[in-house]
């Protein structure tokens, strides 16, 4: 079958995640990865030869980083070269000869005036298309895309590459607005950013009818993305008050949480309640699910001990709770070291996932001591991707994508060098000599008393900007 050329235009956001997403989508639809490997990359543009338009449509039906896709009709280093190439290839326009059409000029790296755009459109006079121009409701959308390079301080006079072709589809970037945290019913302090959640769902290869599990579910933001891709979701969290929405409200200026806030309420809000199976209050470090149950994907953001505590059920003392206290007793929790959380997560996933199922999760790392060799490894898993999101000068978090390649036996263990991890004390640079009260007093003296709710902190422009808040580590 002859291959067709397609131009994928990616957003310049989270560009380090771009190719992991593209490869994952190829895997979701079981496309031949050969086409992916032959791709050509130019700034935000990726050129691929694919067997059919359907391939491109399917890629765009999942991608949250690609914003549009064009069937490439011509390409050139200069506009003249583009026209020369196109003149040799005019029969490609035949199926569209009578369609209502529009032609748009778009640029990357430079803004050009309307008059310049019209001038460019006029150079296409020779196209043998007879359909009327219809800008509002065209059947055929033609696009001329000009690329002026990536350096904003050194913009060339003429584009370094021009592309021309037929628009096919836009990506799924609209989903980000749909599941925006700004108007989501139930959010917490560390709800995952919609774009990152959707990317995690893509990396985890979530397909319709998959069973997906999140052991540190919180407000369920990652599972929302998984459900949007057709997954059926189950989540657990140790925080009883969080799952019952009885914690302090996370929204600026909110005095209390609504009575009907819950993870489920979010699923109802987005019309995906049928994908919701259950959320449980449970300690993920302990077994609570039958051994023979298998999940298709496990996606999670474990607590890092910075904005959410790292805890599990337990006590340093040994005692028996008196019979009369059992009914009202709240289990005591002990510190659950981040390194143990991650090792337990991987060990549990090695037993809980189906073969070829993926485990996708974040780990916080200290940027100065991070080395790729220090990442956790387990013989049951292959590390597929490792993408960095920079948080501060010294801290970042990495999204690890691991694929289960074989079943574990008694001897399989997860190996991890904890020195790469960003721990609480590294984040706060605390010498450990002060108590909480002393630190608070010190902070008050230096930075003044905390502002009232709703008042702007110095250096903050918008107190309601939830999206900015979730970029901080959890």
């Amino acid at each position: 079958m002859p291959l067709k050329s397609f131009l994928f235009w990616f957003s310049n956001e989270q560009s380090g995640f771009r190719f992991t997403e593209l490869e994952s989508i190829f895997r979701v639809f079981r496309f031949d990865l050969h086409h992916y490997r032959q791709k050509k990359v130019m700034g935000p543009f990726v050129l691929m030869n694919l067997p059919s338009e359907d391939h491109a449509l399917k890629i765009m039906s999942r991608s949250v980083l690609a914003h549009s896709c064009v069937e490439l009709w011509s390409i050139g280093d200069t506009l003249n070269e583009l026209h020369d190439n196109f003149r040799k290839n005019l029969e490609i326009t035949e199926p569209y000869v009578d369609q209502r059409l529009s032609l748009k000029v778009e640029t990357f790296g430079k803004t050009i005036s309307m008059a310049e755009k019209v001038e460019l459109i006029d150079t296409f006079e020779y196209i043998p298309l007879k359909g009327p121009i219809d800008l509002k409701n065209p059947e055929l959308r033609l696009k001329l895309v000009q690329f002026y390079g990536l350096d904003p301080n050194n913009v060339p006079e003429f584009p370094i590459k021009s592309f021309f072709g037929r628009w096919i589809a836009d990506g799924q970037r609209h989903l980000m607005a749909k599941v925006s945290l700004k108007d989501r019913k139930f959010i917490g302090n560390t709800s995952m950013d919609p774009l990152l959640s959707l990317l995690m769902a893509n990396f985890a290869l979530i397909k319709p009818n998959d069973l997906v599990y999140d052991p540190f579910v919180g407000t369920g933001s990652i599972l929302i993305a998984a459900a949007m891709m057709g997954g059926y979701i189950i989540g657990t969290d140790i925080d009883y008050l969080m799952l019952h929405a009885r914690t302090r409200p996370s929204r600026a200026r909110a005095k209390h949480r609504d009575l009907d806030e819950s993870v489920r309420a979010n699923f109802i809000q987005y019309g995906i309640e049928s994908q919701y199976i259950d959320i449980l209050v449970a300690d993920a470090s302990r077994p609570m699910i039958r051994d023979d149950i298998r999940f298709d994907a496990i996606i999670t953001d474990p607590p890092y001990g910075v904005r959410e505590p790292t805890e599990k059920i337990g006590s340093l003392k040994s005692y028996k709770i008196k019979e009369e206290h059992v009914a009202m007793h709240i289990p005591s929790k002990i510190e659950y070291c981040l390194c143990d959380i991650i090792c337990d997560l991987i060990n549990n996933a090695s037993r809980r996932l189906t073969i070829n199922g993926r485990l996708v999760f974040w780990i916080p790392v200290s940027r100065d001591t991070y080395e790729v060799e220090k990442l956790p490894s387990n013989p049951c898993f292959e590390l597929i991707a490792n993408c960095e999101q920079i948080l501060t000068a010294t801290a970042s978090r990495r999204l690890l994508v691991m694929e289960k390649i074989r079943e574990p036996d008694e001897s399989t263990v997860t190996i991890m060098d904890s020195t790469a991890l960003m721990y609480r004390f590294k984040f706060f640079e605390n010498d450990g000599s002060k108590t909480r009260k002393e630190r608070k007093k010190h902070a008050n003296q230096n930075y003044g008393k905390g502002c009232k709710r709703g008042q702007l902190l110095p250096g903050h422009t918008d107190a309601t900007d939830v999206a900015a808040e979730v970029q901080l580590p959890s």
């Binding site: 049928s274 300690d283 302990r286 609570m288 699910i289 059920i313 059992v326």
Partner: protein, 126 residues
């Protein structure tokens, strides 16, 4: 909590509990929430279901049509059977504060509040 979840849950997190399955279901109030019927998903999960446990759970919940006692052989083609299974697994929900599950070995009770089961055990039980 849906009966699908009940079908998976164990009380193995309690110290010295060997199997911890099935949890005894005591539901005082039950809600039916219609959800989309997806035969593809059902055919995929039914092999994972312990059917006897599900039948018992449906009976203990009461006021609903009983399930066929055994898994139909051609369940993935039997639409009527799939619809009944769908109803039992994903539409029956234990909602109210008084619902609970009980560990078969120790009798430890796990309450279900607002549809969310609390599977936390106390520190002296782990």
């Amino acid at each position: 909590m849906k009966l699908f979840t009940h079908n998976m849950l164990t009380s193995k997190m309690i110290r010295n509990v060997q199997v911890g399955y099935p949890l005894k279901l005591c539901a005082s109030e039950v809600k039916i929430t219609p959800t989309d019927f997806r035969p593809g998903f059902l055919s995929k999960v039914i092999p994972k279901i312990d059917w006897t446990v599900l039948v018992e759970a449906v009976n203990s919940v009461g006021n609903t049509e009983p399930l066929p006692p055994a898994l139909a052989e051609d369940y993935d083609k039997n639409d009527d059977f799939l619809r009944k299974a769908h109803h039992a697994l994903f539409e029956i929900e234990i909602e109210v504060i008084t619902g609970e599950m009980e560990c078969p070995e120790t009798g430890r009770k796990f309450p279900i509040q607002n549809g969310v089961p609390n599977m936390l055990v106390n520190e002296d039980e782990v």
